[in-house]
Symmetry: C2
Subunit: 109 residues, 2 copies
DNA sequence: TTGACACGTTAGATTTTCCTTACGTATAGT
DNA sequence: ACTATACGTAAGGAAAATCTAACGTGTCAA
């Protein structure tokens, strides 16, 4: 009934799935930067960078601030907590399994 | 000259970008499981689950072990270190910026 | 052997990504 | 006013993802 297609990028996971977008985020971690400076770091055209920045903005990972004719982009690292939280959940599962193993070994000499 | 398209998923970042794949990984964090059990956790058909598992296997996040007519899937969490490392790199940038700020405040009363 | 079960794989349709090349808009400088 | 700069956006197309339905393969059980 419902064939499907590639899912749209709606969260931080999808946002950092693309190498170019990761480079942009990494660059912005070092401080706010205008588009031209960001475009220089990455192997795609400037419009492509604009589109990637639009995706990052749509997810809330960056915001723009007009500064004369430049637009400085600013990173919001707290939006990555979504990812951190998920990874941490996995760790908790992992710890639980270690606990069960330890208890098992303790009860079986 | 070189139009383009969506990039294939070749690393852990792309692997965890899909919600269904994240659910599968989370389920496997609780222990090895056969496909039917995994398919019960997720809102897509069993063949779709097989395809997602193929993606995860291609990235090295899971491996299969034949067990009679079942195939139990096993998680390899260390493949997620790629993600952890990148996030940690961001933290380091962040710390550096805090350091510079602290030094600045120290030198400017 | 016959049948049910567990699973992978193929075929096909649809959606979205992601690029480049034009073009449009606003600001700064002369 | 005119020009260059900085950026976004629209148009167009190729590549890949992602689903379901149908089919194929191997294993257990009676």
């Amino acid at each position: 009934m419902s064939p499907a297609g590639a899912p749209p990028v709606t969260d931080a996971f999808g946002a950092i799935a693309h190498p170019v977008r990761r480079s942009l985020v990494t660059a912005l971690a070092g401080g706010d930067k205008p588009v031209n400076e960001l475009a220089a770091v990455v192997p795609v055209s400037r419009p492509a960078v604009s589109q990637h920045l639009a995706v990052l903005r749509g997810v809330g990972l960056v915001s723009e601030q007009r500064h004369g004719r430049e637009r400085r982009y600013h990173l919001h690292p707290e939006r990555l907590d979504e990812v951190r939280k998920w990874m941490h959940t996995l760790d908790r599962f992992w710890d639980d399994r270690l606990d069960r193993l330890a208890r098992h070994l303790e009860e079986n000499p």
